[in-house]
Symmetry: C2
Subunit: 433 residues, 2 copies
């Protein structure tokens, strides 16, 4: 172990950058004791130099231009905490790698879109590209998949990867309120952004899932191939039915090898209420990895925030200081396999379908016929108390079937005169343990 300090430059001094500055200042001795090197912030860059951030820069050189810093600062490592798939963040990382500097980033969008190319650049330069903080915040899940479970052929990896969605779904479950109402509350509490689309439409989860899948299966990162649905269409009524059926509704990101390629999908799922992942509530994240030797393992913790994210960045810095050099995605970038994706139409599973129907004789028979014509067999039907005039909800649970057939069923049923709203479909996810 070298005793020279590890000099780092930090691009971005927002919540996470501030958390990292605090961690490095408070734990300078601890980090040196563990990593063998003193970790020193030699340069920083942010938008507004004059802003009072509540922490000292301790003599770090200020750069107005983060890209310039990435190229010129006296630093072995550049930490990118700006965010965004392209623009300055990408330039900072590319510049740093081109100059032979290690890159540590918390930027999931960047890695989801450009991870393979960046890993190639890092390996060409003989430096590390580390992004523990990009997935599931403080949970060291990249390390777990890439190293801790490296002896396993992974049969699947899935998780709750977005704390905002999990908070909203947990609140909906507990308070029996509707999505819009809970979202507004989450926004007022600071748990959801003013523009919540990245979170509630599943994009953030998809970024993280694409990264996890690449590390788990040694495939090129394929964000564009993720099937993405968010949680806007989950209703209090569906949550109540789920509860009655012994399920919880969770937004999961799921990646699994199938005979048709790797499935990568993000959508609301009904999971057994007794499954460990169903117990993960509020802003917590959790990842389950199923290995052929280890069985099912679960890793849970805070998925966002200054402290957890700084913890993950610090772990990457300690790895670099300790001289750990492991390919970013578990195998060298040149050996990553082209991602072969199983189309969502080939997905097989059980389905929850909830209809609002006119309370007339023969409706259930019409629906059952539509299902039967596609050879979708019914496991259960639930009908709520009758209202003489209003539409009534009817729920069908299917046995395992293929998504393509289910889509045809849904289209046919939507066209029935007796069905008054677009049918709601939620996939039922069987979870191993």
């Amino acid at each position: 172990m070298s005793s020279a300090p590890l000099n780092i430059a930090i691009a971005g001094l927002g919540t996470v950058g501030g958390g990292l500055m605090k961690l490095i200042a408070e734990h300078s001795e601890l980090l040196e004791r563990r990593s063998g090197r003193f970790i020193r912030v030699t340069a920083v860059s942010a938008k507004n130099r004059g802003r009072n951030r509540g922490f000292a820069l301790n003599g770090a050189q200020w750069f107005d231009d983060a890209v310039k810093m990435a190229g010129e600062a006296e630093a072995e490592v550049v930490v990118e905490l700006i965010g965004g798939a392209d623009g300055v963040a990408r330039q900072v990382c590319e510049t740093a790698l081109a100059r032979g500097r290690h890159v540590v980033t918390a930027n999931k969008a960047l890695i989801a879109h450009h991870g393979t190319a960046l890993a190639r650049a890092a390996e060409k330069a003989g430096v590390a590209l580390a992004f523990e903080a990009a997935v599931a915040g403080g949970i060291p899940v990249i390390k777990v998949l890439r190293e801790g479970l490296a002896g396993n052929n992974l049969k699947g990896v899935y998780g709750i990867l977005n704390g905002t969605c999990n908070y909203i779904l947990t609140q909906m479950q507990e308070s029996k309120r509707e999505f819009a109402d809970v979202l507004a509350e989450a926004q007022s509490l600071g748990y959801a952004e003013a523009d919540p689309s990245f979170d509630v439409d599943g994009i953030d989860t998809a970024h993280k899932l694409a990264i996890l899948a690449s590390v788990a299966f040694g495939t090129e990162v394929g964000f564009d191939a993720v099937h993405v649905e968010g949680i806007r269409h989950v209703s209090a009524l569906d949550i109540a039915f789920a509860d009655e059926l012994g399920y919880r509704i969770k937004l999961l990101g799921i990646a699994r090898p199938t005979p048709h390629g790797i499935e990568q999908r993000v959508h609301p799922c009904m999971v057994d209420a007794a499954a460990p992942i169903a117990q993960v509530s509020g802003v917590f994240n959790a990842v389950v990895a199923d290995g052929d030797f280890v069985g099912s393992t679960l890793f849970e913790g805070r998925g966002a925030g200054a402290g957890p994210t700084a913890s993950a960045v610090a772990a990457d810095l300690v790895d670099i200081a300790r001289g750990v050099r492991i390919p970013s995605f578990s195998v060298p970038a040149a050996k990553l396999v082209k991602l072969s994706v199983s189309p969502m139409e080939r997905h097989r599973g059980a389905y929850y379908m909830r209809l609002m129907v006119k309370d007339e004789p023969g409706v259930i028979a019409q629906v059952a016929t539509a299902l039967g014509n596609e050879k979708v067999s019914i496991e259960a039907v639930l009908q709520r108390a009758r209202h003489p005039t209003d539409a009534v909800p009817v729920v069908f649970i299917t046995h395992e079937t293929e998504e393509a057939g289910m889509n045809r069923v849904l289209a046919k049923i939507a066209a029935l005169g007796t069905v008054v709203e677009k049918p709601r479909m939620i996939r039922i996810e069987p979870l191993s343990q």
Copy 2:
């Protein structure tokens, strides 16, 4: 990365050794792809050469004497899967390290007793001493503490570290049967040994806890300083009371820094039934690590068995093949701090005390007086339905107090003529999240 094979010698071909042979044979390509080196078993040693083990030795050299193998085999790594704190297992590891060979072991007793000395020997020789498989089976918790959470000052680490105990307690909870009955069933199912003492008396958990504490706090391994109680005295009645009070009874190993030193304790705990660790059932293990930046993190998986243990050994082998060299206990052995242990008498917490008393007036007053004299305040009293002749159970829950005072209370109460059995005490463990 070197492309030369990583030659390994395996001492011990029992359940875990067999699992490892299977993993290496089935995943030879995967391991090479991930680690950059082909992992080859060049030598093996076990008691009985003639035994049919159901797997091929593939040309590996046979040694009747594992110690001889550790010194002479053509191998960079010696994998010790014999078990036991001393004897052959210890000699194998010491011999291998003295010859400059890496050691990977699943032996918790060995590491708990001699881990610090072995780590010193490994560092002197410039080789790895790796023991991921020694704690919590397939859960890569050593890696998580040593690397993944390296940016944190850990405020505590605790867990369910013995699957046999957790299975027995889960069964007692679910079937409302007594310990002896469930133990006998567990033995007949192969979940408990014929001599169950190592498991049910908490020794196995204490071995693992001592290792976890050392990695978490950078202290020398101090198994002798672990306070150990097993689960034999947990009764169906106490489990029923716990349920009524909103608790589950779990055997936890807990290590925490306190103002008086580090607490290391293994004993049955009452934990909030809604806490994540309370949901960990059957033979599963789980470890919670509380970091000052990351918050509370939980890691769950199978704690024993051929597959999970082989998975952990394989992860250590991949690390070695990848050239990862991190001090075994997170900091170099020479920098491990002498363990300063907080004596159990200084422990502070709330207590559950269950008495069997004669149904006479004044008994509760006597007990309350004994508590009051030691300034132990009462949070709750529960009394069961009265039996005219038999003794009746009475439960006291205290507020937080010091163990020394609680011990004096228990001694006084045991001596009361109206108390007909030895009072039962179970500590109530507040869990952060």
